[in-house]
Structure formats: structure tokens, C-alpha cells
């Protein structure tokens, strides 16, 4: 990449920066990176809790974005964050598929007992938020689902995205998102049912 750091101005739009990256301006890509890395980290942090894994997926997202810049049409400035969010979501999905349902997500006896006690207590006082434990344990429960189920549930419940937005971010059809969400909830119910 050529270096043209002198000419980057904060006022430049994303579309302008993309055009300059295409012409070999490395500083323009660094400016795009600095503008959007927090948003990308925000998306990826919903899926992974280990910092090394989050950093790795962030890097993968920007590498993919760099080589895919030719396909970015840049018709209006707001489309770049959405385009980048889609790449980040797909990179997270690839990482979920790569790691799969990991054995290390198995719950220990202490965690299982703790979860059973909390879930039963939830039935008595109805306070789900206080019943449910640490983020680490929640991740271990979700790790028992398939990558597709984790992705769609995290986007719908965690990101609070609409079905249409999930379809946009994943590239799936709306019907597929609905079917996958239905199956994912059933799968999660079955997982939780074992502890009741």
C-alpha cells in the first residue's frame, strides 16, 4: 500500500476515503479503521468474551473489508458502516463455525448445580435477571447451540435487531431468519430444560 498520510482530512466522508484506498492510499484505510473499529468491536464483543478472540475477529473483519472494497458501491455515506457491520457479522459467524460446539464449554459440576438452583429459584420469585448468573456461564450455555442458532439469537435478542436487519446483516432471506430463529429458540429451550 502506498502511503499518503499527509492528505487525510477528518472531514473526508467514508466514500471519499474508500475511493482513496482504492487508489492505494494507506492512510485513508487507517482513517477508516480508526473511525469504525469501536463499532466493529462492539458487534464482535456480543459473540465472544475472550479478548484475544475479539481482537482476532476484528483484524479478520478489516482484512476482509480491505480486499472487498472494490465491491463497495458507496452510493451514500451511511452505507459504509452497514456494509462493514455485515462483514463483521459474517466474520463472527465464521469464527463460531470454526470453533464449533467446543468441549471446553461443558459445565462443571459446580456450575451445573449453581445453574439448577438459580433456574428453580427463578420459578419462585420470577426474577430472571437476578437468577441468571455470570456472562461466562451464559456463554457456556449458548456454546451448546449450533453456530447458526447462536448467531440469529444473539442478533435478535442481544443486538435487538429486527428480522429484516438480521437478514441484511447475514445475507439470509427473511424466511430463513424466521425459521432459524424458531429452531434456535426450541434448541435453547431443550438445553435449559435439562437443568429444570
Amino acid at each position: 500500500m502506498a502511503n499518503g498520510s499527509d492528505s487525510v482530512t477528518p472531514e473526508a466522508t467514508d466514500a471519499e476515503l474508500v475511493g482513496r484506498v482504492r487508489s492505494g492510499d494507506e492512510a485513508a484505510f487507517e482513517e477508516l479503521f480508526n473511525r469504525h473499529r469501536r463499532r466493529v468491536a462492539f458487534i464482535i464483543n456480543r459473540f465472544f468474551k475472550r479478548r484475544e478472540q475479539v481482537e482476532d475477529v476484528i483484524q479478520e473483519t478489516f482484512v476482509k473489508a480491505f480486499f472487498a472494497l472494490e465491491s463497495f458501491d458507496g452510493t451514500h455515506d451511511k452505507s459504509f458502516p452497514a456494509w462493514l457491520a455485515r462483514i463483521a457479522t459474517n466474520a463472527a459467524y465464521d469464527e463460531l463455525r470454526r470453533t464449533g460446539r467446543r468441549r471446553e464449554s461443558e459445565l462443571s459440576e459446580e456450575e451445573t448445580a449453581h445453574l439448577e438452583a438459580n433456574l428453580r429459584a427463578e420459578g419462585e420469585d420470577g426474577d430472571i435477571e437476578s437468577a441468571l448468573i455470570s456472562r461466562d456461564l451464559a456463554h457456556k450455555l449458548l456454546a451448546r447451540l449450533s453456530p447458526e442458532d447462536r448467531l440469529v439469537l444473539t442478533l435478535l435478542n442481544g443486538e435487538e435487531a429486527s428480522v429484516a436487519e438480521v437478514a441484511e446483516m447475514t445475507g439470509w432471506s427473511i424466511a430463513k431468519v424466521k425459521v432459524r430463529a424458531h429452531r434456535a429458540r426450541a434448541s435453547l429451550r431443550a438445553t435449559l430444560h435439562r437443568f429444570l
Binding site: E26, E30, N45, F47, V63, L142
Partner: protein
């Protein structure tokens, strides 16, 4: 009826629990995000991965080019081989068996009709008598008339 109601309650409860589990897992740690996003080496690592990916793609492209050339060359070479075989097969030499190609006559080209025997006959070459005549010709004082007779 009671059993169905109980199942619905259980399902609704599990759905609420599931939603809570997902929300808890997807909770965002602002400090963690700030720490990751502000990592000083993050962009340097991105650049290194871009360079590595670029090299990998270029290596892949060179292989692809070679494969394309081979892909185009194979049919051409096949066609040339087929034409050569056709010329050999239909060129009037089909009665030659492989064994006959390794006989002594063929190896020493004794009966090779393709070899043109060239006879270098110099019509203007001097005969022995002419040489003698030149040396001891009639112009010489010690010469004899025999030289002139032999002509």
C-alpha cells in the same frame, strides 16, 4: 388440560429464561471494548495480515495462470499429437511392422530408397597420361613421341 397448561407455562418460562441467557451472554463490556479498540498494535496486525493475504493471493494467482496455460496447452498438444499420428497412419507407411524397422538393412540403411547416391564424376579431371604428357610433353627436349600417342 392441566398437563397442556403446564407445558405452555414451562415453554413460556423456558423462552423467558432463554432470552435472558442470550441477553446476558451478549452484554457488552464497555471497558473491554475500549481496551480492545484502543490497542496500539491492532492496526499494525491488520496491516501485517493484509500483506500476508496479498502474498498468498499473488501466489495463488501465479498458480492459476500456470493452470490456465496448461489448460489451454493440453488440447493444442493433443490435437498436434492426433494430427501427427494421423499423418503417420495414413501416410502410406502403414504396411511397415515395428519389427521390420529394426532389421540390419534398415539399421545400416542398405536399402534405403530415401538416400540419394551421388557420384562425383569430374569430367575435367586429368588422366595419368595427361599428367605425364604435361611433365614430359612434346615441347621438352628429352621427350618422346609416346606421350602424344597415348592420347
Amino acid at each position: 388440560m392441566f398437563g397442556r397448561h403446564h407445558r405452555q407455562l414451562t415453554k413460556a418460562r423456558l423462552d423467558r429464561l432463554g432470552a435472558a441467557v442470550v441477553s446476558r451472554a451478549a452484554e457488552v463490556d464497555e471497558r473491554e471494548i475500549e481496551a480492545v479498540a484502543a490497542s496500539p498494535f491492532l492496526y499494525a496486525r491488520v496491516r501485517a495480515r493484509i500483506a500476508a493475504e496479498r502474498e498468498r493471493r499473488e501466489a495463488g494467482e501465479s498458480w492459476l495462470t500456470m493452470l490456465t496455460v496448461a489448460w489451454r496447452a493440453v488440447p493444442a498438444m493433443g490435437l498436434a499429437a492426433a494430427m501427427a499420428f494421423g499423418v503417420f497412419w495414413f501416410g502410406g507407411t502403414s504396411n511397415i511392422s515395428p519389427e521390420s524397422l529394426f532389421t540390419d538393412e534398415v539399421m545400416f540403411a542398405a536399402n534405403d530408397a530415401g538416400v540419394e547416391h551421388v557420384l562425383f564424376a569430374d569430367r575435367d579431371a586429368l588422366s595419368r597420361d595427361e599428367v605425364f604428357d604435361t611433365l614430359y610433353g612434346s615441347g621438352d627436349s628429352g621427350g618422346s613421341d609416346d606421350a602424344g600417342l597415348s592420347r
